[in-house]
Amino acid sequence: MTILEVKGLGISFGGLRAVNDVSFSVKPGEIVSVIGPNGAGKTTLFNMISGVYVPSDGSVSLNGEDITSTPPHLLAARGMTRTFQNLQIFHDMTVLENVIAGFHLQERPSILGDLLSLPAARRRSAAVREKAVAFLEKVRLAGAASEQAGNLSYGALKRLEIARALAVGPKVLLLDEPAAGCNAVETEEIDTLIAELAKSGIAILLVEHDMKMVMRISNHIVVLDHGEKIAEGTPDVVSRHPDVIAAYLGTEEEPAHADG
């Protein structure tokens, strides 16, 4: 029962092969982590899966349907959304409005109803507002609801992005370094939240540099190095894999990759 399947995905930027022939799959309720050194191609992989980049090879399927290079806004409608390594926040909107924006598809805006503030449109907005507050509580940002998002701290914005992604109601959620720049307490909270989301049946694809966190919460780990998948398996298997240790610690094998 696979929900997300990635097959032979690859992309080049000029002469650089950023990702090459990467395959793996994610089941509902599973946490799959993608790890690898800086520049390994993790974000690029996310960008291809989420429709930001068009891959030059391979395919992505969601629930058995091919979604390769489907634009992101249509993927959201099919139940896949993501967060970003470099924050993508609606800075000039309030914290609450950022999350409400996540309900866009559910709100199904009608231009006439919105221009004239017709009762049906107002009702939908009010209903969504309540749900948005609930998500803010989940990431402990309810207190900042009416603040301008741009004024929040980095860690808070990371959580806001997660709350906004949850508002989309995803079946597959891609998180690109959700704990980067967060302190130990915040990391712990995000950690718990991700586990909770997976338990509720959401398939999670995670990129994270915090190895302790990755080893603790992942069901399955995919290791990238120089765009190639060098290992895959449970945290136990991966952490003992010689190529993984080499990639992270940099043994004699490293230069052989580096000139590629």
Binding site: H73, A77, S110
Partner: protein
């Protein structure tokens, strides 16, 4: 912004509109007031386009031209009542915005600015060159809307200035109400979201191209209706209404007042409409002073007048 804030803003606007005539030294100022409100209307359209959706246009006077000439031409050639010609102009402008918006809104920043600029120039050139229809650069007369005799029959005697002051004020209030509704709505939120980050907007399911286009069409209708009102109250129209300088004036008013704010837009329109009237004493130096004032405002109040002032008040910890 909450529903309460919306009604406060509309209330402020209505009170000013009602109170202002008490300070008018002469009947002529009803004309000036009406002109301010008409300018403010087109600037509110730009608040939707620039302030909400973050897209620029240097050609919106083109839509004002369409609205203006609809009122000049449709009554004579189509036998349409001038009031209905306003709607016809708005419809044509919306259709035009839909057609040109689709390809050009894919452009960003100054590419979009140049493309919209091209559209504006195109409209003003057509209006100048179709002499047989539009009278060319000399302009043409616009039929009276014929509502004053109607009011007189109902026992209400108003001067032309008073009539247009009231009519423009009412249309501006309606326009402000609609723009404020939009701000709080799901559609307006989608526009503001894509302004903040197109990438993030897409991940929550926002069809970026669609909402940019909606903002463009809405702002075109505002400009068109403003152009119609301008033509009707002046009783005469020239292709200048569609000209580049008019487009620039509109954007300047929006930026001066505060491009995300409906009240700010009105303030910007008021200042830039009044300033030339005040500066006539300086004759040759009018443009110079105007340019200088604008540079100073942008340097010291980069958010625009109204948002900068309110931010300063909040900063004092009220």
């Amino acid at each position: 912004m909450t529903a309460k804030q919306k009604w406060i803003q509309l209330g402020i606007l209505a009170v000013i509109m009602l109170a202002l005539p008490a300070f008018f030294p002469s009947g002529y100022y009803y004309r000036v007031g009406a002109l301010i409100y008409v300018n403010a209307l087109s600037v509110i359209g730009l608040v939707v386009l620039i302030g909400y959706a973050g897209q620029i246009s240097l050609g919106h006077a083109g839509f004002a031209g369409i609205g203006a000439y609809a009122c000049a031409l449709a009554p004579e050639h189509l036998g349409l009542h001038p009031a209905l010609a306003v709607l016809l102009g708005a419809g044509v402008s919306a259709l035009m915005a839909l057609l040109i918006g689709r390809p050009i809104l894919r452009l960003k920043g100054y590419y979009l600015a140049v493309a919209t600029l091209g559209f504006g120039i195109l409209v003003s050139m057509v209006l100048s060159n179709e002499r047989s229809l539009t009278g060319g650069p000399d302009g043409m007369a616009v039929p009276d809307i014929g509502l004053r005799p109607l009011l007189r029959d109902m026992g209400l005697r108003v001067s032309g200035g008073e009539f247009w002051y009231a009519a423009s004020a009412l249309v501006l209030l309606l326009g402000a109400w609609i723009a404020l509704n939009l701000h709080q709505s799901a559609t307006g939120r989608a526009m503001r979201a894509l302004h903040g980050s197109e990438t993030a907007a897409r991940t929550v399911g926002i069809d970026v191209a669609r909402f940019k286009l909606q903002a463009f069409v809405i702002s075109a209708v505002y400009a068109s209706v403003a152009g119609s009102l301008l033509a009707l109250q002046n009783g005469f129209i020239t292709p200048d209404v569609a000209g580049f300088m008019h487009s620039v004036e509109m954007v300047t008013m929006a930026v001066l007042g505060g491009v995300g704010s409906v009240l700010g837009a009105t303030l910007g329109a008021a200042i830039l409409t009044l300033l030339p009237q005040v500066l006539t004493v300086l004759a040759d130096y009018e443009q110079l002073v105007l340019g200088f004032v604008m540079i100073l405002v942008m340097i010291f109040l980069p958010l625009g007048l109204l948002p900068s002032i309110t931010a300063r008040f909040r900063g004092r910890g009220v």
